[in-house]
C-alpha cells in the first residue's frame, strides 16, 4: 500500500543505475509538484535475505553517487572510497551500501542540467527550488523502490549530515542508526554568507545568462571556479593551510611583483577551481547551496512540543565533529547531542582532533575509520543473525 515503484535502468555511460519515476505527485517544500524525475544511484555489496544490512550514504554539496570504486566521470576514486568498499570501515562484504545523487544535483539525478520532460529542454533556472527535506523525500522513494523497509544506517557528512538528521525527523521508523559527521542543526549566517558570495560569483559571470548558459553552449566557468575557491577555503583550517602551504612559493624562487600565482596556496586554489568546473554544473551549485541555506531544524530540536512526538527512541545516533572545523564547529554539533541527551535518546558523540578542518571527514583520519567501523559492526551484531 502506498508503495512507490519506479523503473530501474542501467546507464552504461554513467556506470550507475537510474530509477525513473513517472507521473508522480511529488510535492516539494516550495509547493512545486514534481511529476517526472529520475534518481541516479549506485549500490555496493548485496542486500541480505532479511534486508537488514542496507546503509544509505548521503553525499555532501558537491558529491555524487560514486561513493566507492572509480568515478567514471573524473576517472578518480569515489569520494569516500577510503571509507566504503570491500574490507573498508563500511565494509561492503557485510553491508549493502546505497548512494544516490541528490535532487538538484548534476550526476544523473533530475536537476537544472537535465532535460525537463515536459518541455524537452534542460531545466536551467526553471528548475524548482529544492530543500534538504526534498532530497530526503526523494531518497525515501528510492528506498521504497528497492523494497527496503528499514535501513540499518544512514550516514553522511556536511550536507550529508543534514540529510541524515532530516531522515531521523521525517522517516524515523525506517532507520536504526545514524552517523552524523560535521553537521549542524541549521546553516549559520556565516555559512549562508559564504554561499552567497559563491552564488554571486556565478551569477555575475557573463556566461551565466540567467541560468540559460546551456543554450549558448558555454559555462560560467570563471564564476563557478571562484565560488569553488571560496568554498574550498572554508573546508580547510588556518593551521592546516599553514602546515601544508605556509608562504611557500609556487615554481619560483622570488616573488614576481605581479598577480600570478606566486604562492602555492594560490596555485592550489586555482587548480581546485579549474578542476571543479569540469565536473560540476553551475546551476546545480546555486540550487544545492540554497538548499543548505534553508536547512534549519533548530525549532524542531529546541522545543519538547516539536521534538518529543517524533518516534525516534530506537535510533542510535553517532555525532562526530572535528576540532578545526569552523564551518560546522563542534559547538553546533554539540547542540544536537544536547537535545538528544535532554530527551534521553540514544546518542554517542566524539570530537576528533585534527587540523584538516571541515574536509577532515573525507580525509585520512584513522580515528574516524575505527569509530565508524566499531559503531556499525557492534550495533549490527546486536540485532541478531543476518541471513
Amino acid at each position: 500500500m502506498g508503495k512507490t515503484t519506479a523503473q530501474i535502468q542501467k546507464n552504461a555511460s554513467l556506470e550507475c543505475d537510474i530509477a525513473v519515476f513517472s507521473n508522480m505527485d511529488c510535492k516539494l517544500d516550495s509547493g512545486f509538484n514534481l511529476k517526472d524525475f529520475q534518481i541516479a544511484f549506485k549500490t555496493f555489496g548485496n542486500l541480505n535475505a532479511n534486508k537488514d544490512n542496507a546503509i544509505l550514504i548521503c553525499h555532501a554539496l558537491t558529491g555524487d553517487q560514486y561513493v566507492s570504486e572509480t568515478n567514471p566521470i573524473t576517472k578518480k576514486d569515489g569520494w569516500w572510497s577510503r571509507m566504503v568498499g570491500v574490507n573498508k570501515p563500511i565494509d561492503t562484504n557485510k553491508y549493502y551500501v546505497i548512494c544516490s545523487n541528490v535532487i538538484g544535483g548534476c550526476a544523473g539525478t533530475t536537476g537544472p542540467k537535465e532535460i525537463n520532460f515536459q518541455t524537452n529542454v534542460p531545466y536551467g533556472r526553471e528548475f524548482p527550488a529544492v530543500t534538504v527535506r526534498d532530497m530526503v523525500k526523494i531518497q525515501n522513494y528510492l528506498i521504497e523502490t528497492l523494497f527496503i523497509e528499514k535501513l540499518f544506517a544512514v550516514v553522511g557528512g556536511s550536507m550529508g549530515a543534514m540529510q541524515a538528521l532530516q531522515w531521523t525527523i521525517d522517516y524515523p521508523q525506517k532507520i536504526q542508526n545514524v552517523i552524523h559527521i560535521a553537521g549542524a542543526l541549521k546553516h549559520s549566517a556565516q555559512n549562508i554568507a559564504f554561499h552567497e558570495v559563491g552564488r554571486q560569483a556565478i551569477m555575475n559571470d557573463p556566461n551565466w545568462n540567467k541560468g540559460g548558459y546551456n543554450k549558448n553552449n558555454v559555462i560560467p566557468e570563471r564564476g563557478l571556479a571562484v565560488a569553488r575557491m571560496i568554498a574550498h577555503i572554508t573546508y580547510l583550517s588556518d593551521d592546516g593551510m599553514h602546515r601544508k602551504f605556509g608562504r611557500k612559493l609556487q615554481s619560483r624562487d622570488i616573488i614576481s611583483f605581479g598577480f600570478d600565482a606566486d604562492f602555492q596556496i594560490e596555485s592550489y586554489l586555482r587548480y581546485q577551481g579549474r578542476s571543479f568546473v569540469e565536473r560540476f554544473d553551475a546551476n546545480s551549485y546555486l540550487y544545492l547551496t540554497r538548499a543548505m541555506d534553508y536547512f534549519d531544524l533548530e525549532k524542531k530540536f529546541s522545543t519538547a512540543i516539536e521534538f518529543s512526538p517524533i518516534p525516534n527512541q530506537h535510533i542510535r545516533y553517532l555525532i562526530i565533529s572535528f576540532t578545526s572545523d569552523w564551518l560546522f564547529p563542534t559547538s553546533e554539533n554539540r547542540k544536537i547531542v544536547k537535545t538528544l541527551n535532554y530527551f534521553t535518546r540514544n546518542v554517542s558523540f566524539t570530537e576528533i582532533e585534527t587540523d584538516k578542518g571541515h574536509d577532515s571527514f573525507l580525509l585520512d583520519e584513522p580515528e574516524l575509520d575505527s569509530i565508524i567501523k566499531g559503531f556499525l559492526d557492534n550495533n549490527y551484531n546486536k540485532i541478531g543473525s543476518h541471513e
Binding site: T344, G374, N379
Partner: protein, 227 residues
Amino acid sequence: MNKMQSIRKDWNLIESLISRSAKVLDIGCGEGGLIKQLEENIQANTRGIELSPDLARKAIADGLSVVQGNAEKDLDQYSNQSFDYVILSQTLQAMVKPRDVLLELLRIGGKAIVSFPNFGHWKIRLQLLLTGKTPITEGLPYVWYETPNIHFFTIKDFQDLCKQSNIIIEKGIALTSKGRQFEISQGISGANLFTSEAIFLLSYQNFAPIKLQSKQKTFVSNSALVN
C-alpha cells in the same frame, strides 16, 4: 588485591545495587567496561559520559552510547529524573565542586551510586603520621603534584555532606584493602578506619511538594505558599 580485581569488585557491587533493565547513566565511564557489564548481565539501558576522547571513542566503537564530555560542565544537558541510576565511580574526589556534582546526580537520577577511596583508612592515617608526607596508596596512587584527585575526604566527611544536603544514604558498602566487604552503618567508627573504598547508594530526601506546615484548616485564595 590488584587494581583490576578491585575495579571488578567495585563493578560487581555496583551491579548488585541496580535493578534489572534500569536506565543507567555512568559519569566518567572510561572505556565503558561497567556499562557494558550492566547491559550484558542485567539488560540495563545505559549511557555514559567520558572526558577523555580516546576512552570515549573506544566505548563508542564498542557499540556503547557514550558522549565525550565533562562531568562538571555537561551534566546540565540531562533532564530531571531521566535515569533510574546515575553512577559516579571513583571520580568524586577529582571534581572541582564535588557537592554540586553530587546534587546534579540526584537531579538527573532517582538514585545515585557513588564510590570513592576513603582517606580515613588507617594505613593512610598512619602514613601521614609516620612519614609526614601526603599518603600514596593503591586507591590514591599519585604523588601530590600530579594527582587528579584534588579533594581528599573520608567516609565521615561524606556522611556529613549527605546529611547537610538532605541526601539519604540508602546503603553503604565498604571494601577493605584485602577485598573483604561489609555494610557501613552510621555511627560505627570502625568503618572509617578499615574501609579502603566505599560505595554508597543515595537518594534525595523526598522533596515531595513543599509541605505546608500551616495549622490553618482553611486556605484563603492565593495563600498556597503562605506558611
